[in-house]
Each structure stands twice: as C-alpha cells, then as structure tokens.
C-alpha cells in the first residue's frame, strides 16, 4: 500500500509546484495522473520515487517513509535513458547486480522474450528504434520486480501506432506480477486504456482536481461507446481543471525544477 500524506513541494526559488496531496494507492492498482502543464504531476512522481524529497508531508510504502530511491519502487522516464555502453541484455539486467549470474541471465532472457526482443539481446542501445528502446527501459525497471512502478509520460515521444503497441505490452507485463502502476500522461486515450483510476490535477499550485474511476473490462476497445463515454468525462474534468487556473509562465516552473529533468 502506497500512501501520500499531504505531500507538497516548493522549489528553492519559491515555485510552489505541489500543494499537499494526500492519496492512497492499492497494491496492483493502475493510477493514471493527468493534467495540464504545471499541475505538479512529475513533481509528485519524483517525490514518490525518492529522487526528490518533498518539502512537506511524506510518502509511505508499507509503513516505510520513502526518502531516497527504494528497491521496491521502479521508475521509467519519458526517454528510455538506456546506458549506451551496455548491450541490451546488460541494460535489462542493470538492477540485478546482486543476483547470481545464471539467475540474472535467465530473468533477462525471459523478459526480453516476453516483449519479442530476444534477437536484440547482444545489440547496442543505439541500434534500437524508439519503441524498442522504451520496451527495454520498461524491462529494466520491471526485472527487479518492484512493488510500485512509476512511469513519467513514458510513451509521449513515440508515434501513435508504437504508443498503442507499448500500452498493450505494458498491460501484459503488468498482468504478470501486478505491481502498482502510477502513470503520468497528458494523453486522455492512454489514460483510459490503462487506468483503474484517473486522477485529474490542476495547476498553480499542483493539486488534485477530480478523480474518475475507470472500471471498463480489459482489454479495452478504444472504439467502444463506453470508452468514449469515459473519455468525455475526463476531457470535461480537464477543461474544468484548467478554467480557473492562473496563467503564469510555465517555462519558469520547469527551469526551476531543473530543466530537462522535469516535465
């Protein structure tokens, strides 16, 4: 059980990015966080990951307060961030340093097979396509079997076809070990394909605007009427969340949060 207890973040330059969010995510739940820019989605994710520490409140996983990266929490970024000097298989096994070699190799091989990349095991990351690289990044985070997996706009740099493909891959992999997933996105369809629960956030400062439960049966048909109905609800909620937002220069907030590390 992952609990956020009034988690807030004010950056050193005074930008108030996140305003006291309280939230409980059940084991195996898929929570999708959606919202306009500046709504603190990524700030929240980074606080959960332990890469940044919140300035108020705390993140608690199974009774432990998270203050630094934790082995039960994996994170996937917008870009694959594969280590260019390691071959694909070694990238996938990066988090298994402590594992005996035989077991590590077996787990890596199984993971690669699971997403159809067995033939790429000995290849350098630069030789992969964008979609393949992101699949490898997902495996790298999943292979140590974390209890919680955080995804920060994981597919936003990919074309629509590849994106849909990777969403299916992600759900497949999720079904294997059912970790808690927290996915930040700004793609409404992606939110509905993945989510058990959609959390709409509003900006300046970032806070929860509305929560929408999404219990359509899986696999979800993007063309169905039910899908469309949820989509309208989410779009309406997004509209409302942005209506009363104070429009300030968003770039300022991003620069404050460390430029490229923050979306």
């Amino acid at each position: 059980m992952l609990v956020l207890d009034r988690v807030g973040k004010t950056y050193p330059n005074g930008v108030h990015a996140l305003d006291g969010i309280s939230l409980t995510v059940a084991p195996g739940e898929i929570l999708v966080v959606i919202g306009g820019s500046g709504s603190g989605k990524s700030t929240m994710l980074r606080a959960i990951s332990g890469l940044d520490t919140p300035s108020q409140g705390r993140v608690v996983l199974d009774g432990m307060t998270i203050t630094a990266p934790h082995e039960q929490i994996g994170i996937i970024f917008q870009e694959p961030r594969l280590l260019p000097w390691l071959r694909v298989a070694d990238n996938v096994g990066f988090g298994l340093e402590q594992c005996p070699t035989a077991e590590r190799n077996a787990r890596v091989a199984r993971a690669l097979e699971r997403v159809g990349l067995t033939d790429k095991a000995r290849v350098w990351p630069r030789e992969l396509s964008g979609g393949q690289a992101q699949r490898v990044a997902i495996l790298r985070a999943l292979v140590p079997r974390p209890q919680v997996l955080l995804l920060d706009e994981p597919f936003s740099a990919l074309d629509a076809f590849t994106r849909a493909d990777l969403q299916d891959h992600l759900l497949d992999l999720w079904a294997d070990s059912k970790p808690t997933l927290i996915v930040v996105t700004h793609d409404v369809e992606e939110a509905i394909v993945l989510a058990d629960r959609i959390m709409v956030m509003r900006p300046h400062p970032g806070r929860v605007h509305e929560e929408i439960t999404c219990d359509l049966p899986r696999p979800r048909d993007r063309q169905s009427a039910a899908f469309d109905f949820v989509k309208r609800r989410v779009l309406a909620a997004l509209d409302r969340s942005l209506e009363r937002a104070v429009i300030t220069d968003d770039r300022e907030t991003k620069a404050a949060a460390g430029g490229g590390l923050w979306w």
Binding site: S49, L51, A68, P69, H70, E71, G74, I75, F77, E79, R81, L83, P84, W85, L86, R87, F94, G95, E97, W124, P125, R126, G258, G260, L261
Partner: protein, 283 residues
C-alpha cells in the same frame, strides 16, 4: 577518391539494380588507393630531391637526400645508438606520462565532481596552465638537478594539463539523466563511479590521454635540450653541433615513428571500451 574511380563506380550502380555489388566492387581498389594517394606528394618530393642531388643540381649538404637519411638511420640502428637513445627518450616519456596522467586524472575527477573543489583549485591550476611550460625549465633544473628527475617532471607537467582539462570537462558534462538512472537503482559512491561515471567519461578520457601523450613527446625534446647525454633530443643537439643534418632528420623520423606508435597503442588498448560509441567517423 579520384574522378576516374568515382565515375567508374557510379555508372554500374545506375545500371545494375543491386547497389551492394557496386560498392563491393569499389571497396577493393578504393581501400588500397586512398592511403596511397596521401603518399603521392611526399614520395614525389623525396624522389625529386634525391634526383636533384644525384644530378648535382643541389649539394644536399644541409638538406640530405632520402638515401643518406635512410643510410644514417640504418647506421644508428646497427651500432645500437638508435636503440640506446630511443629507449632513453621512451622511458622518460612513459615515466612523465604516467605521473602526469595520474595527477591529471585525480585532480580532474575531483574538480569535475565537486563544485566546491572546483572553485578552490581550478583557478590556480588554470593560472599555472597559462605559464608556457618551457618557462619552468630553469627552475626545475635548480630544484631537481639536470638529471632524470627534472626531465620527467617537465614532461609530467606537459601531460598533466590536457588530461586534467579533459577529465574535468568529461566528468562535469556527464548526462544528468544518466546519473539519475544510477540514483534510481540506488547507486552511490564507488558503484556510481564504476557503473555510470567511468564508462560515461571514457571516450573523452581517451582523447585527453592521446592529447597528453602528444604533449609528452613535445616536452621530452625540451627536456633533453636542457642537457642530456642520451635520448633522441640529444641526437638532435649533437647533430646540430657537429653539423650532421642527416642525424637530425633520422632522429626526427624516430620521433615520428615512436609518437605514432604510442598514440596507436592508446587507441588500440581503449578500443574494447569504446565499441558502444555511436560515432560519426565509423562507416
């Protein structure tokens, strides 16, 4: 690539639908031809000079013809002099290079990693770098004597700066996003250095080692000019004082061979660590 071979390779490529065949056909002679083209000019000049001296158009006393240089080189090699002087110079370069690389790597890593140490140490080192290193020679002789110590220290100073700058720049410019991957996998201290920072700085490090080696060869000459009884630098001075230009050129050729060989050795030894690089130069 000459115009002739260009047209010869383009035409069949347009006729035949399989371009791979055309490129294979071009690969054979083209690969041999390219370095040969580079040799054309120096060989032509050498042959022209040789003929000019042979036919009495020039005396060749101050600028010895190639045959005399080859002869001198062979003589030096036969008497063992070449080996004596080359090994003396080579061991100085290696010793100076080793000290310079160790110091440059340590200081570069510290100032690249820690902003505080950078502010503390880097300005001083940059000021020292601005001093032409040859300016140290008189002082080094006073401090360390005219024997090996002052020579090796001078070479080490020359090697230090490019390595220091290279390592500092490389450590500072390691992609923060990659470091964050390391943090997400709970790496810190030694593990972070070993698994993230070291491989990330490797390409720039190799380049700075090559630059350092180049300067090492430059400084060994300066060091041997300041008084030595062995070494290729001594052969240069000796050749000047006794009016033996062929010996000077022979020593220069020896420098070229050794310098190229050590550079090639660095490239060769580092190649296995850099296979992953996505290089423009790799075709």
């Amino acid at each position: 690539m000459s115009l002739v071979s260009m047209t010869a390779s383009v035409e069949p490529a347009e006729v035949t639908p399989a371009p791979s065949n055309a490129s294979v056909a071009r690969g054979g002679p083209g690969r041999l031809l390219r370095p040969a083209l580079g040799l054309l000019l120096p060989v032509a000049v050498a042959v022209a000079w040789e003929l000019a001296v042979r036919h009495g158009l020039a005396s060749g006393r101050l600028v010895p013809p190639p045959s005399v240089i080859v002869h001198t080189f062979a003589d030096l090699a036969r008497t063992g002099e070449l080996e004596l002087h080359a090994s003396a110079t080579l061991s100085r370069v290696i010793a100076g290079f080793a000290f310079g690389v160790v110091a440059g790597t340590v200081f570069g890593a510290i100032t690249g990693y820690s902003a505080l140490m950078n502010r503390l140490v880097d300005p001083t080192l940059q000021a020292l770098r601005a001093i032409p290193s040859i300016a140290w020679v008189p002082l080094f002789i006073l401090w360390f004597g005219i024997f090996e110590a002052s020579k090796i220290i001078l070479i080490a100073v020359g090697v230090f700066f490019p390595v220091y700058l290279g390592v500092m720049g490389a450590v500072m410019s390691v992609d923060r996003k990659i470091v964050e991957v390391g943090r997400a996998f709970r790496l810190s201290g030694i593990a972070m250095v070993r698994r993230i920072l070291l491989p990330a700085v490797m390409p720039a490090y190799v380049i700075s080692l090559r630059a350092g080696m180049g300067l090492g060869w430059m400084f060994v000459v300066a060091a041997e000019f300041m008084g030595a009884s062995t070494g290729l630098g001594f052969l240069l001075i000796d050749g000047q004082q006794l009016g033996k230009p062929a010996q000077i050129v022979a020593a220069i050729v020896a420098f070229a061979i050794l310098g190229k060989a050590t550079d090639w050795l660095i490239v060769l030894l580092s190649a296995p660590f850099l296979r992953w690089e996505d290089r423009f130069g790799r075709t």
